[in-house]
């Protein structure tokens, strides 16, 4: 089912959805001298006309699922303690691009597994509905197609929004997933569109995505031991400052630590870019040097994670780590180097 909406229709639909959902959408936000596109909760219907789809948001919505810092509970609350209710309202994420959807799916793999469920993540995830957004042109430094992500279509979300210049198309992809959210009734009133109209737009937009200069040749996972030992990591990553910005902006980086405030047990993002990440109390550190930590970040995404999760890449190609790096250290260049070294070793990938 495809619905055709004017900008006004979309505003009215969202206004209605706001009665049921906390709507979280991308906005242009001034931060000092910079203007950034950030996911923010919609507080009034007036704000709906300012929702801004045109650029890739500055950060993925990962902090809404795994907050930067999060109070878990009092540490004496016990192993049966349930996460507190944050809100009775379910949350609706509007305008999430394929790369960031893939980031959330990766979190699902990690935090809702057969042998392990993180109740804090699960509670937030189950309380969330995602409306995807079809990209019209590639974001700076992005290479999503090289890691198997289609920036224009995404079947893993129940609803997908397409920008048609004059208005929007909204594709209902999975009615099952919408059950319990009572959103279908609201869509009934809107006019239906032919799938050919939408296909035309997607085909036209797809032309903008053909110019990827970067390509990933090897199948994932990269062979672990060869990649670990044979690449000159020190030279490839020599400019790294170890600031960790890449990991904080990364939609797939989920590493964390606990911290305590008196009796409160909290969780915060942590980063493999920091030496303290792995430092033992004894002083021993398995990753003493920055290039060893860079190797960990790259191989976690292109070798270790795919090994543990049926070949699924640990990178969604959003390009943020490249754009945000203060010293322009580009993961694509490092990847090229890794591939070149592995090719020299006669490794075809996926054979470790």
């Amino acid at each position: 089912m495809i619905k055709k909406l004017t900008a006004q229709d979309l505003k009215e639909l969202l206004g209605e959805l706001r009665q049921k959902f906390l709507v979280i959408a991308p906005f242009r936000v001034k931060q000092g001298r910079l203007t950034k596109v950030l996911y923010q909760p919609v507080k009034t219907n007036d704000q709906l006309s300012s929702i801004y789809f045109k650029e890739q948001p500055d950060a993925s919505p990962k902090e809404y699922f795994l907050p930067r810092d999060d109070r878990l509970a009092e540490e004496t609350a016990g192993a049966d303690c349930q996460p507190e209710e944050w809100s009775d309202n379910p949350r609706l994420f509007l305008g999430v691009r394929s790369c960031d959807i893939a980031g959330i799916e990766l979190f699902d793999d990690v935090f809702i597994e057969n042998d392990f469920v993180d109740p804090f993540y699960q509670r937030r995830r189950e309380n969330s509905l995602i409306i995807g957004y079809s990209c019209q042109e590639p974001a700076d430094n992005s290479f999503c197609q090289e890691v198997g992500i289609d920036p224009l279509e995404n079947e893993n979300v129940p609803l997908m929004l397409y920008d048609a210049g004059e208005g929007f198309y909204l594709k209902v992809q999975d009615q099952e997933l919408l059950k319990g959210f009572e959103i279908l009734d609201m869509l009934q009133e809107l006019p239906e569109a032919e799938s050919s109209e939408l296909e035309e737009i997607v085909t036209e937009n797809r032309k903008n995505f053909s110019g990827d200069e970067f390509s990933l040749e090897l199948e994932l996972p990269f062979p672990e031991k060869e990649a670990f030992t044979s690449v000159d990591w020190e030279e490839a990553t020599a400019s790294c400052l170890g600031c960790g910005v890449c990991t904080f902006y990364c939609p797939t980086c989920f590493c964390f630590k606990f911290f305590w405030e008196e009796i409160e047990k909290n969780r915060a993002w942590d980063s493999c870019m920091f030496s303290l990440f792995t430092a033992h109390a004894s002083g021993h550190n398995p990753r003493e040097r920055q290039d060893q930590r860079w190797r960990q970040r790259l191989l976690h995404k292109f070798s270790y994670h795919p090994t543990n999760y049926q070949g699924s890449p640990g990178c969604v190609g959003c390009g943020r780590c490249v754009s945000k790096c203060p010293v322009n250290l580009d993961i694509r260049k490092v990847l090229n180097r890794v591939e070149k070294t592995l090719a020299g070793e006669g490794v075809k990938g996926n054979e470790s």
């Binding site: 878990l72 509970a73 540490e75 004496t76 609350a77 016990g78 192993a79 303690c81 349930q82 996460p83 990690v110 935090f111 809702i112 597994e113 057969n114 042998d115 392990f116 469920v117 993180d118 109740p119 804090f120 699960q122 996972p221 672990e224 031991k225 670990f228 030992t229 989920f254 590493c255 964390f256 630590k257 606990f258 305590w260 008196e262 009796i263 047990k265 969780r267 942590d270 493999c272 990440f277 792995t278 430092a279 033992h280 109390a281 004894s282 021993h284 398995p286 990753r287 060893q292 960990q296 191989l299 976690h300 070798s303 270790y304 994670h305 090994t307 543990n308």
Partner: protein, 281 residues
Amino acid sequence: MKVDNYLPREAEITKVVQETGINLNIKTFHLRFTDGEAMMEFQPGQFLMLTVYGVGEAPFGLACAPTTDCQEIIISVKETGKVTSALHELQEGDSVGIRGPYGNSFPLEKTSGKDVVFISGGIGLAPLRSLIDYVLHPDLRQDFGRVQMLQAFRSPEDMLYDYEQQRWENSPGTTVKYTIDRPCEGWEHCVGFPHDLIDEELDCQTEDTVYYTCGPPIMIKAVTNELVNLGIDPEDIITTLEMRMSCGLGKCGKCNIGHRYVCKDGPVYSYKELLEMPDEF
């Protein structure tokens, strides 16, 4: 699906044993849960996450065996960082938090019916004790062959579990040898590093014997090298690793060695597995 909320169960310290002289400061803590069920189910070689309330949390290998008469959780702790220092301040009757048990375990099936050799360095004896007490338990002793131990310590002052050693020495089919780094007056046992003593002091059979070793990383490396030199199959050499950990569940990312999480896929590995892993521990 197993839900884990990262929050500990409360346990009471029922006994504190000062193991060593003040130079190394190792204490052994006996613990019981306070919520009615005093013990937990676990396997030799597993570890727990222990919370010192208001300070933090760290992983410790279990130093007790899951035998029928095991009434208390036992861990041995060397004062090293923030959590261990705070723990050393605690006394009988104080409360701590416990999560777990976590990780895989020593390969009991593989060891069953075979001779067992334990080579330890310092507090590396603690995690091995979970298997030593298992193998030497009167109800289970017949399931295993001859038992040999070589325990290394810096000095006589640094010896662990002197109150258990007599029992171990007297167990049927068991020999226990001790070594210290440097000669010392009144010491009647071996002197020197364990890897130099293996050939002489232990009867190292290449068949039907499983070798367990734990200690400082450098000692583990030296011992495994020596065992391999003596013709032991790397698959028959078992060790247990230590890493910094936050969650214990294979999520937080700190204990990664390659695609493996030491907290979940380990901490117990055979030397054969270690050879397949990137050298990052």
